[in-house]
Amino acid sequence: MHLLRLNLAVAASGFRRYATYRVATAAGVFTNTVFGFILAYTFIALWYERPQLGGYDQSQALTFVWIGQAMLATAALMGGGFQDEFHARVRNGDVAIDLYRPVDLQLWWFASDLGRAAFQLLGRGLVPLAVGAFAFELTLPSSPTVWLLFLCAVFLAVVVSFALRYLFALCGFWLLDATGLSALSTLLSVFFSGMLLPLTVFPGAFGEVVRRLPWAATLQVPADVLLGESGGGGLAGLGFQLAWAVVLLAAGRLLQAAATRKVVVQGG
């Protein structure tokens, strides 16, 4: 009970922290919307040439674009979550203080990242999706059940995204200079989440592999759940996300144990 209250408090402070910067949020919404328009037009051209490309019709493809813009900040698909701060704390030794605390390191950062994601879903996700729905004909479901499943998928997307970024962040314990790691993490996320192009469009065996990687759980699967393209009424997608979430969080725990055994804090 105590643990739950504590983590709720951490999550709430994560939410408030991002909610403080209103101008920055508005700026982000503007940029997401502009990118949404650019991508939407390229997708229109693409689906005009090949209707039903990747199993979507044009309206579904446009919906995919705007879901992507809504998820970009929420699931930190292009970076921008907790990891920069985490790296800084590893480099300057503050992580020792975090390890002293009577809370688990992974759970602490997870709670704060969930708070951030919750704010960014509301603050940065809703408006671009609404603008997209005004400007283009999107395929949005009318059934509340599908929306509820979509919310679950968004939650799991954030969990998988966190678990992935946490693994990369932990490598900072060994490499110290983490800028290269962050770049690699972002690069993989942008390409393999479906941010540039839906993964269903990727051809052949490459596409088969890409659709099974954990990054697919961060955008492709939530989009498919909303579009009704995920098998078993969306449950197959949620199962896929859940499986990766468990595997990656467990891997994070193992790596964290190894990292904290290794940590050496310079005195002084």
Binding site: V23, F30, F35, F37, I38, T42, T179, G180, A183, F191
Partner: protein, 291 residues
């Protein structure tokens, strides 16, 4: 050159003589060179890290083209343009943007400097503020984007079956140079905007990163309104669309008169003049946070 910073700090309206203004620009460029060289030396102290960042920069920016290649694995043309033509647009947009990003990309950190108070330090040094800001953390890794764009551009030139004339060669070179200037202006304008709205640094991404993404695709892909906006409001079309359509022998979807295709240098100069005014206004309106 006795008091190099004097030109920058002079009160406006006292009538700069042309020679002193030129002297100021020359000193600004030299100062930029000094600061940039210092950062290059500092980067080269960690060669392995630099090599990794260079590769990362190259690969990250290449993914955009990888997405375009995947698109073309499914279709033969996009907006009526074949892959080599899109690659030509992509290459010119990418190299022009890469140059601006390398030389002026750091201007996007002004908001942070205003917030944490380090802007004050820049104002006390006898070096133009723009030189200091633009050369700060000068990052050679950004050559990754330029190299990548240049490779795609080179590939497209081998695939395009065009009759190359002196005019079209000149147009292609000017796309990269004038395009770089126009993107550079956007970076500085975005920076100046942050004197008024410190937290809004992301707005400029819509024009800089958004702009280069827009220009990677043919104008026929986009709605007429968007193309008009990118021609008359933010003059992105002059970076590569208009001159590239001429080189590729394509019609311009807006049906503008033909001489517009050659107007990029004039547009770039106008942008620079406008940007200089906005930059000065921004700098004058700067209020220290006092911390």
């Amino acid at each position: 050159m006795a008091e190099p910073g004097a030109v920058e700090r002079r009160a406006p309206g006292r009538g700069l003589s042309a020679r002193r203004a030129l002297g100021g620009v020359a000193w600004g460029l030299r100062a930029y060179g000094f600061i940039a060289a210092m950062w290059v030396r500092s980067t080269m102290a960690y060669r392995a890290s630099f090599a990794m960042m260079l590769v990362a920069n190259f690969t990250t920016t290449f993914l955009d083209f990888a997405a375009i290649m995947i698109m073309f694995s499914q279709v033969d043309a996009l907006g009526g343009f074949a892959l080599p033509e899109v690659a030509f647009l992509y290459g010119t947009s990418c190299v022009a943007f890469g140059l601006a990003d390398l030389l002026l990309g750091e201007a996007e950190r002004i908001g942070r400097r205003v917030r944490d108070g380090t802007m004050d330090i820049l104002l006390t040094r006898p070096v133009p503020v723009l030189s200091q800001i633009a050369a700060d953390r000068f990052a050679l890794r950004r050559l990754g984007r330029i190299t990548q764009g240049a490779l795609v551009l080179g590939w497209s030139l081998t695939r395009l079956e065009l009759e190359w004339t002196a005019g079209s060669v000149l147009l292609t070179v000017s796309m990269v140079l004038c395009g770089g200037l126009i993107f550079g202006c956007l970076f500085v304008l975005g920076g100046a905007f942050q004197f008024w709205a410190q937290d809004a640094s992301e707005v400029q991404n819509a024009f800089t990163y958004g702009g280069t993404t827009l220009l990677q695709y043919p104008p026929t892909v986009f709605g007429k309104e968007l193309v008009r906006g990118a021609t008359f409001v933010v003059p992105l079309a002059f970076v590569n669309w208009l001159p590239a359509l001429r080189v590729l022998g394509r019609d311009d979807p807006l049906g503008l008169p033909g001489w517009v295709d050659f107007a990029a240098p004039a547009v770039a100069l106008l942008c620079c003049a406008g940007t200089a005014l906005v930059w000065r206004a921004g700098l004058r309106s700067y209020r220290s946070t006092g911390s």
